[in-house]
Symmetry: C2
Amino acid sequence: MPPSSPKATMHDVSRLAGVSKMTVSRVLADPDLVSESTRNRVMKAIEQLSYVPDRVAGSLSSRRTNFITAILPTLTNSNFADTAQGLAEAMRPADYQLLIGYTMYRLEEEERIIRAMLARRPDAIVVAGTTHTKAANEMMLRAGIPIVEIWDTPEHPIDHAVGFSNYEVGRAAALHLLALGHRRIGALGSRMDSDAKDLRGESRLAGFTSVLREAGLSDELVIRAGQAPVSYDHGALTLGILLEQAPEVEAVFAVSDISAVGALMECHRRGIKVPGDLSLMGFGDFDIARQCVPAITTIRIDAEQIGRRTGELLLQVLDRSSARECAPAAAVNVGFELVTRGTTAPAAKPR
Amino acid sequence: MPPSSPKATMHDVSRLAGVSKMTVSRVLADPDLVSESTRNRVMKAIEQLSYVPDRVAGSLSSRRTNFITAILPTLTNSNFADTAQGLAEAMRPADYQLLIGYTMYRLEEEERIIRAMLARRPDAIVVAGTTHTKAANEMMLRAGIPIVEIWDTPEHPIDHAVGFSNYEVGRAAALHLLALGHRRIGALGSRMDSDAKDLRGESRLAGFTSVLREAGLSDELVIRAGQAPVSYDHGALTLGILLEQAPEVEAVFAVSDISAVGALMECHRRGIKVPGDLSLMGFGDFDIARQCVPAITTIRIDAEQIGRRTGELLLQVLDRSSARECAPAAAVNVGFELVTRGTTAPAAKPR
DNA sequence: CTGAAAGCGCTTACAG
DNA sequence: CTGAAAGCGCTTACAG
């Protein structure tokens, strides 16, 4: 450990500058309230002592930590990292610090994290998803701070929400494949019988399935295998399962571009032509989906924007002046967009 | 905002349980010190009031926050997210919370973040890289807490270090391509004349170049273009520049698998055979490199392990009992491994 | 095994 | 424009 020099306190600064602690505090918080000469003297003392204000003490005193808790499933191989970055970016000018927790798609872990985070007294909680354990729901309701559920459109929001309808994403995907004339249509998702559940992926599958049913098609080619979070391997694996079950499948929707890329690579390895033999589409508009050869048809959502919009919403809600009154709960739908690229094509023989 | 119920304090709990605050504190911190009957009464009161201890107050009082600051270039399209996850995982049992900052590969931003983070009084700082601004170096030296520089092997470490030699990685890459019989060898890196600098990528290029020189080869095919952080687009772009400059190039090393994948896709689009026309290798052993067709030869580093090892080291150093004495600074080299896969092959006509 | 006192380093709310 | 007092909710260090 490097040599520890005793940390200067506000008291030390005030003595050196010949003022009270309050004046030092004011110079830091609201410099205009202090006369120029005093301010300069205090600044000099701060500089001289390399004084760094202790925000732990400040937080206790002011009952505001400027911490925002962000609870996300994972940061690897997902666009939640973009959401986190967007949120951090939006909150930075106001000097908020993110407290990130990973649930690994486990609701019990989410509950544990919420409990632990509340002890840090965050000024707000951002949480991915709209389904939580009973205890988690209650803790958030009682917390007395703004809550933002993101990445979906909750039916019964706890408070605010910023996201899009995963169900509608699934429907849009199925409608696209149907419109191309495909009839033997499958999908690739992850297991729902494990502790780790991708609930939003499941919503997309549900929307997808609903369209298949309405079109009088079977949903038996909707594969749920492999554990969340999905991966390139997941796509390769589940495509293999699908092909074994139905070699004649014409079109496939993967719940994530990551899976779609894995499936595409598996097709390359097996000599299956995409498109032609198989139409393939994903979700998320990951960079890799755009760069793949062929580029993958996907449903674009702006993960960073979800973070940014959430940050802007919170900035507004947490603003001291407006915080007096309970701000009305906002529900922002950022929507999504079908991006047609090279992996989907009309069916060879439309019936 | 959900209805705010006034938060119970330790004082409330103590009154309800008919004990002193100290006893409540003990039940939470070291239950064995309290008699069973008292403990049960306190637990019941905690439950009844939904009491959540205030760690802001606890931190101020104990002079320990259980925060670890992790300063990383970016979390997107990189394996720093794995390092963060590994670190978080390792520290979780001891109830540490990560405070993550993104520098976007800018040293001035790193300095700003360090300054801001120090006000949060973290118990340790983990920072990617070994080059910092003068002010940043001084702040870390004076902070009086353990510092761990990760992802490289510093010549003059501030304190602890956990990483591998990027320079040696570059050398290993060049030696591999030379051993295959290639002579017209290039590399793909990012610009060094911008604010955002990938210094570790540059170290890899430096090692790579040193081998080329030793072999009597030119380093004019070492391309530095595009801004850090690298991306799939970066790989496609820089490969295009390289091909324009030297259509006869035989082998290429990209400073990141992400770039290598982008370059590979660009080759697919241009009808360049990999390997055959061009040997290609990357760095990092990203999932996508393994799944690509063909799979990309790379230099494997275990990003998650860097995080885990760092966490274990910190747990040891931060241990109360040993913290008395200054723990000797540790320098852990986690090494790396060349993984030969499908994108590199012997030169067609070895000279 | 339990508790009373002091204090961590700030900010709030007044007062002048 | 500046300051004295009180207090935020815990833990430390004693004492018994």
